[in-house]
């Protein structure tokens, strides 16, 4: 394996971890805030 393979693997792992973290946190936040706002508007 060349050095390039290891570099690509390291950046791919980081990108995957960051993408999972960002998308997961954003979706959870939006979903929870939308539900909380919906419930507040209910009589």
């Amino acid at each position: 394996m060349t050095h390039t393979t290891f570099i690509i693997a390291a950046f791919a792992v980081t990108s995957a971890g960051m993408a999972w973290l960002i998308i997961g946190s954003y979706v959870t936040m939006r979903r929870s805030e939308a539900l909380a706002d919906d419930l507040r508007q209910q009589p």
Partner: protein, 238 residues
């Protein structure tokens, strides 16, 4: 500090602060990674694998910094009973664990071409692995205590005790024989050439801003979930 104990006041600050941290963080992180990958020279001894430094070092620092933040938030939670401190500590745990995991995996990938092995049980690597397991323990404890509805004091005590591991990680390369190199950046200066050091600091700044944005997102989600629970309880009582 108690000014922000009011969740409504905190949210007024957190809502504009989340994108203000996220977008510059994303731009700096992507820019630093591209700069590191394509704009830095090949290192004399390590060759091109040195480019892994731009993701490995920020994740290591944030993995350790995350736990220090958990410990400080836990102290604030236990001593001053600040209502947002426990929520902040819990919000830090998953990003901190992810950064610790990224540090371990990218370090292992870097170790194979430079040391000839994926893993060695030396002080630095083992103490970093312990940090990752501490994060998993903290996540399990804090979710168990929030399910029971108490104030997660056990998790806070665990967060404070676990901070003992941080100086061990930091000093491990001095205390024990290690495959891992000694600290290249200290308070006294740096042994890294500016060609790598400048994009490295940009990368650390970018990842740190993203970390801050992620913690705010998770705190906002936790506060919204608390509002939902309170509302459901009121609806059930009516």
């Amino acid at each position: 500090m108690h000014r922000f104990a009011n969740p409504a006041r905190f949210l007024r600050l957190a809502k504009p602060l989340t994108p203000a941290l996220f977008w510059p963080g994303l731009v700096l992180t992507l820019g630093a990674c591209l700069w590191g990958l394509f704009g830095t020279p090949t290192e004399r001894l390590m060759g091109d694998t040195v480019k892994i430094i731009f993701v490995h070092v920020p994740s290591a620092w944030l993995g350790m910094g995350g736990w220090m933040a958990i410990a400080i938030a836990s102290i604030v939670q236990l001593v001053w009973r600040h209502p947002l401190a426990g929520i902040a500590a819990r919000a830090i745990a998953v990003p901190g664990a992810t950064f610790a995991a990224i540090c371990l995996v990218t370090g292992s990938i870097w170790g194979r071409p430079t040391w000839g092995t994926w893993w060695v049980w030396d002080g630095r690597l083992t103490s970093m692995l312990v940090l990752f397991f501490l994060y998993l323990g903290y996540i399990a404890l804090s979710s168990a205590s929030s399910e029971k509805g108490d104030t997660s004091r056990v998790a806070a005590v665990f967060g404070i005790i676990g901070a003992v591991n941080i100086p061990i990680i930091n000093r491990s390369v001095i205390w024990w024989e290690s495959q891992h190199q000694k600290a290249s950046i200290t308070l006294g200066g740096s042994s890294i050439d500016d060609a790598y050091l400048v994009p490295l600091f940009v990368s650390v700044a970018g990842f740190s801003l993203l970390f801050g944005a992620l913690v705010l997102m998770r705190m906002r989600a936790a506060l919204a979930e608390m509002r939902i629970e309170a509302r459901m309880r009121r609806m059930a009582e009516d």
